[in-house]
Symmetry: C2
Subunit: 174 residues, 2 copies
């Protein structure tokens, strides 16, 4: 559907731009059971870099912001880096409530069984077939391999909390 | 904490960059009860633009991708626009399972009561005080106003499904 038709269908006016020009969709926050395991997964498997950590001792939680960005883009100065990460789009915030990492029975809800809500994150890659082979070599858990189900151009992998991460490529499969 | 210390603490190697250089954290997907209401909210309140819609008739669901971006940045060509949106970072995907919009008792789970998991989205703005005043004028529902709770520099608003959206500014309050 043409963009103008889509805007008309949903009654979206270009006037929205004036008031919201400087708004940035900054981050998505997920609670994780074990911060070390999650950061290992998001960095080694998907290339996310943890760039800012804040520990709230009184409230017993820790947050870490991660970005999928070249190291050379990330400010080294601590104050600038915090302002930078809160100005970017496509940031992942992971929250650890202290103690869950040592509670064997503790588990978060990934939103894809009842009660449903949040669905998934998505990482796009230039070549979905090649990257799924890489995930297999790394021993990543799959929710849906490319060959499974009806959509052979999309896979879903799972992070350590079983949150789903869609893997796709922007262009059609060759 | 210095970036190098943070990378050391979480055992993150700069070698991850080689294999994941072209990965993009593309989108976050939320299921919504009523797509028209949600797009009205995300466009009028937060300036998101719906740029691509796909209707899956057999499986009875519709997805829409939205971006917080200037209209002039968005390709008008339909094929290019789909490739473009799947190559961007900071995209929001909304999923409608057909029929929920007319089911009065239907409600999605926002992840912030048991069973918990997903926490919130976040939109950063240049001046959190001014924008929260704008949200008040628009009649937006708040989960937490700036003046409530311990953190007076952060607010949380709610979308039509009661998903939480954190509002903050990258710099300290003046």
């Amino acid at each position: 559907m043409a963009l103008s038709d889509l805007l008309g269908k949903f009654n979206v006016s270009e006037a929205i731009e004036e008031e919201t020009r400087h708004y940035v969709f900054n981050h998505t926050m997920l609670r994780v059971k074990d911060l070390n395991q999650s950061i290992e997964f998001y960095s080694k498997v998907l290339g996310f870099v943890p760039v800012y950590e804040e520990i709230f001792h009184d409230a017993a939680f820790t947050i870490v912001y991660l970005v999928r960005r070249a190291f050379s883009d990330i400010p080294t100065d601590d104050v600038l880096r915090k302002e930078w990460v809160l100005s970017q789009s496509g940031v992942l915030e992971l929250t650890l409530n202290h103690g869950t990492e040592t509670d064997e029975s503790f588990k978060y809800h990934n939103g894809n069984s009842e009660p449903r809500g949040f669905g998934h994150l998505c990482v796009s890659v230039p070549d979905v077939v090649a990257e799924c082979e890489r995930f297999e070599r790394l021993g990543v858990k799959f929710q849906k391999k490319l060959s499974e189900g009806r959509m052979n151009h999309v896979a879903f992998i799972k992070d350590p909390d079983d949150y789903w991460i869609e893997i796709l490529q922007p262009t059609p499969l060759r």
